[in-house]
Structures are given as structure tokens and as C-alpha cells.
Amino acid sequence: MSGAVSRERGLELLREMMLIRRFEERCAELYSAGFIRGFLHLYVGEEAIATGAMRALSPEDNVISTYREHGHAIARGVPPGEVMAEMYGKVEGSSGGRGGSMHIFDASRRFYGGHAIVAGGLPVAVGMALADALQNENRVTACFFGDGAVAEGAFHESMNLAALWNLPVLFLCENNFYAMGTHLSRAQAETNLARKAASYRVPADKVDGMDVLAVEAAVRREVQAVRDGGGPRFLECETYRYRAHSMYDPDRYRSKQEIEGWRRRDPIATLKGALRADHILYEEDVSALEASVEDEVEGAVRVAEEGSLEPVEDLLKNVYTPREIRWRR
């Protein structure tokens, strides 16, 4: 990847991945201390995908994600303080505290959640793309999901619909090889996921999800193809989560060696190495980035800590659309 990136751009990508990682590590700490509750699924190890993919999307495009979505949200531009406040259940959170870790929504950034039923986001993405097609919007809907989702019926139905109706969806499969505790090889007869998409006539490709520059380039290519009216595309990003499925997960199903093997391919270390090799990254850059990332994450924690809890009287808020708003439209 030598020479592929400018110093400025390289530092930007590096900082973002470092930010996401530091944010997630801090979440684990805060979870252990009891400030974050419920399920907490961390993105550590997978940062290159969110960081690279979001760079290739325009602010006008739609993004749909899963319950492992903090990295996607931050890369999309949702302020880390709002993501953290959401996990604290505070009003200042991106979903007003109602959703928590698994349900980050920020419609102002066209970031449409935060879906916690495996594969639940895929049909929704198809529908959003359908709406754009019907309204002649030149917009791409990027839909993130994991390898586990490929086993669900919703995946197959969504592939078919998107291809049948030639819809502008980019299916981004983050294959970290484990559906919770079950390895891909024990969950799916055909482990080449791209072939499944291809069988529905969705052009499919694969990229190294541990290489942020490769991800960005691949997504840029696929997005362009979709935007040009070529219908849906499928891109599998091979990656790995270093941490367990969730904070509840004792992680007994993987060997330490396996995890170590993937850590040697760490996306942050890889990018650092490439930038160093190109002599555009210096040690003082790294410590400056670390300090700045630390500041930003601590700022996010402060936002969450200082945020306020919604009064209990508002319990029934947002179960239905406030009528006066709906009728005024």
C-alpha cells in the first residue's frame, strides 16, 4: 500500500480508527463499572471497515447498521458524546437515551440505526433504496451486516428483491467469521458469502477488511457502480473482532492463537507501518494523536456523565407520532 496516501489523509484515517478503538475500550471499562448497561457489542479490530467505507459515501447517502454500530456512527460523523450519552441512557444521546448501545440513530446524518435483530436491517435498506428509485434520488443506501445475517431468510429475500428491482443498495458484509459463538464453517455450508449474493445476480466482491485503504478504494468503486444505476452490489469485508461477541460473552469458542494471529494484521498497526514506511508518520504524530483521541473520548464521557435522565412522566413519549406534527405536514 506504499505511496497510496498523503500524510494528511493518512493521519486522518489513522486518527479515526484510533478514536473508534479508544472509544470502544473506554466503553468496555465503563460497562464494567456499571455506567453502560444492557448488551454492549464492541467493534475493536474492525475499525478499518467503518473508517474506509464512510469516506467513500456522501452525506446524502443512507447508512443502515447493526447492533455493533458505534464505529459506524462515529465514522459517519455522529458526535462521540452523543453516542456515549446514548449508552448512558441520557437525553443528550443520539436516540434520546431510549435505545442504548444497540440502537444509535441520527437521521440528520442519514444514519438509520442500530438494528438488533440479525438481518433486520437488510429489508429496510431495500425499502429505502426503493423509495429513492421511485423518487429519482441519486442516492446509495449502504447496509452493514455480519456473516451471521447471511444465514437468515431476510438476507436471501433482500438480495433477490434488490436485484429484481435493480435498486441502489450497497450490501456491506462485515465477515468476522463468528455468528456469536459459532464459526462460519459450522453455520454455513457455502462459506464463500460472495457466491450467495452472486447467485441472486448481485455483483459481489471481497476485500481485506483489515486494510483501511483497500476498504476505502473498494467501497468507492462499488458505490460508483451503484450510483451509476447498475443495481445492488455486495462487498464482503473479511475482518475479526478481538473482543468477545458482547460483554456477556465468555468467549470460549476461539483459541488465543487465533486471536493473536488476527491481531498481527491489526488495521491500525498496518496503517501506521505503511505511513512510517512512506516516512510520513513520526513518533510525535502518534503520541499527539493518542493525546487528542484521549481528549475526545474523555470529552464524550463528560457529555454522557453530565447529561440528564429523562423524567419518568415522559415514559410514553414517542410511542406514536405527536399528532399535531403529523397533521401539519
Binding site: G89, R98, G99, V118, E152
Partner: protein, 327 residues
């Protein structure tokens, strides 16, 4: 008597079933190597092999449907669906399949399938992992629905479910898995037709099931200290309901409070209230009251989640109101 957790009791029940009947097998997401997301089947894959403790992909409609097929073809499958929320993906196979095959085949097929699923809120896992849809299944003829609320029932309800020739759904509330309790070791299977009186009393019937039972028992203790003698009825079977026990309790106490973690509207508590109104109206000395969840998806923050769910003090206050001693 042996003391164990609810989780261990269910595991023991599985081990007993797997050891005694070669037709029994367990399948579900991460039940094998992982040991089950609630660790119910921990160690069982090693003991019984991956053939009989079978991991499935995240394919609810597929593996639940496969359970229906295997049951109708001579096996005795136990299907674990991680939570009732995910079971909605498989509802078609359960409602259109398991519940109807016997009927629409004119009695040629039967589906001796057991489906277990976790249900309920209280762990701050937000609106897609916290709901109680037991009543949706309890609505469906052809299904038998039950909920073990004690460690003893957790130990012996599976046996009864497996012995039943028709599909049985067992609901396990997520907050019960860590509960410890006593088990009578040589007890027979739980009678799925009978509700249980968990506490006898004369002043008011507190009717509940599953995860709400501990709250109701706590409320009953609180009431006792105030001189109100509450009877606690644990439904155990949500379909068909043991009306005999419910109505005889109400006929004795003349007052009923029904506690159900589902939402009020269309709830199991609503069904029970209607049955009481139909069959025991003239025994009532006060209106039936329901304590259910607030009519909103379960929110993530602790204080809002707790506000949304039935609470001990709320149950006690309802009982006092109905007994007429709230001043």
C-alpha cells in the same frame, strides 16, 4: 431436596431427557459448543455429542421449522430460540405449522415439539430484546404454552412438555436463570394442566406467572405485614388456562389482581380478567385490576425500564385498593 439454580434445573431436565429417550435432541443458536447464550446447555455438547446438542445458524424460521418436521417424523426435538423476540422470525412455522398440522391433516400428523425461549425485560437490553409476547402464542389453538416460575418447575416441566403429544412452548424469564431454589428430587413431571397456589390467603388473589412471580410473592409478604392475606396463584400453564384453580381462588377471596409483564392491551391478564368477569362476577367484591407493562416499547435507561414494568409496590397498592384498605 436439592438446591440449585433455575438454569441448572433446566439443564438437569435436559440431561434426564437426553439420557432416557434417544429421540430427544436439542437445537438452537449457540446451544452446542458455546453452551447456550444463557448457559443452560453448558457442557452438554461434550456429554451428549454435537449430533444431539446441535448448533444452528441464525436461521430461526429454518431451524424451528426443522423442529416441526423432525417432531412430526418421530423425533422429540427441543428447540431453543434465544429470545421470544427472535421467535417472531419463526412465528410462521410455529403458528401456521406446528399448531395446525394435526388439525389440517385430519389427525394424521402430530407435532410433539418442545420450544423453549427466554422472555422478559429487566436487563436493559432495550426494545428489540425485552418484550413479553407469551400471550401471542397463548392465543393460538393447537399450542400448549407454559412458564416455569420456580426452580422446581424448571426442573420438572420439560419432562411434562416432552411427554405431551402436541407442541409445547416453555417461556423462561431472563431474570430467573440465576435464581436458586429447592427441588424435590424424585418428583414427577409438573402437571401442565394445573396452576399452583404459591401462597394461600383469603383476602385477595394475586394471579401471575413466570418472571413476575417473585415480585408478586414479595408484594404478598409486604401485604401480610399490613394484615392483608394474599393468595398467590402461579398460572404455570398459559394455554390452556387452569380456570378451575383461578376461579376457585377468586371465589374464595372475592378480589383479583392480575400481574403480567405484557402490555395491558390484549394481554393474558386481559384474558384472565375476562374469564373472571364471565364466570365469577357475582363472587367479586371489587373490580379486577391488572398490573401490566406501560404501553411503550421497553426503553433502555434503567429508571425508565423499571418505570415501564410491573413493580412490587404497585402490585401491593393494587391489592390494598381492592381490599379497600388504602385509606
Amino acid at each position: 431436596m436439592a438446591t440449585m439454580t433455575y438454569r441448572e434445573a433446566i439443564r438437569e431436565a435436559h440431561r434426564e431427557a437426553l439420557s432416557s429417550d434417544p429421540r430427544v435432541f436439542l437445537m438452537g443458536e449457540d446451544v452446542g459448543r458455546y453452551g447456550g447464550v444463557f448457559a443452560v446447555s453448558l457442557g452438554m455438547a461434550e456429554e451428549f455429542g454435537e449430533e444431539r446438542i446441535r448448533d444452528t445458524p441464525l436461521s430461526e424460521v429454518g431451524f424451528v421449522g426443522a423442529g416441526v418436521g423432525a417432531a412430526s417424523a418421530g423425533m422429540r426435538p427441543i428447540v431453543e430460540v434465544m429470545t421470544v423476540n427472535f421467535s417472531l422470525l419463526a412465528m410462521d412455522q410455529i403458528v401456521n405449522g406446528a399448531a395446525t398440522l394435526r388439525h389440517m391433516s385430519g389427525g394424521q400428523l402430530s407435532v410433539p415439539l418442545v420450544i423453549r425461549m427466554a422472555t422478559g425485560a429487566g436487563k436493559q437490553v432495550a426494545a428489540q430484546h425485552s418484550h413479553s409476547f407469551e400471550n401471542w402464542y397463548a392465543h393460538v389453538p393447537g399450542l400448549r404454552v407454559a412458564a416455569p416460575a420456580t426452580v422446581h418447575d424448571a426442573r420438572f416441566m420439560l419432562k411434562a412438555a416432552l411427554a405431551d403429544p402436541d407442541p409445547v412452548i416453555l417461556f423462561e424469564h431472563v431474570l430467573l436463570y440465576n435464581m436458586s431454589g429447592e427441588v424435590e428430587e424424585l418428583a414427577g413431571p409438573v402437571d401442565l394442566r394445573r396452576a399452583a397456589i404459591r401462597r394461600a390467603g383469603d383476602d385477595v388473589s394475586l394471579i401471575t406467572y413466570g418472571g413476575s412471580l417473585p415480585k408478586v410473592l414479595e408484594a404478598a409478604e409486604h401485604l401480610a405485614s399490613g394484615g392483608i392475606d394474599a393468595e398467590v396463584v402461579d398460572l404455570r400453564a398459559l394455554r390452556p388456562l387452569d380456570l378451575e384453580t383461578i376461579l376457585s381462588s377468586v371465589r374464595k377471596t372475592h378480589r383479583a389482581v392480575v400481574v403480567d409483564e405484557g402490555w395491558h392491551t390484549g394481554s393474558l391478564a386481559g384474558e384472565i380478567s375476562a374469564r373472571i368477569a364471565e364466570d365469577a362476577l357475582y363472587d367479586l367484591d371489587a373490580p379486577v385490576e391488572r398490573i401490566c407493562s406501560a404501553e411503550a416499547p421497553v426503553p433502555y435507561p434503567h429508571h425508565l425500564e423499571q418505570a415501564a414494568l410491573p413493580k412490587v409496590d404497585e402490585i401491593a397498592a393494587a391489592a390494598k385498593r381492592r381490599v379497600g384498605s388504602d385509606g
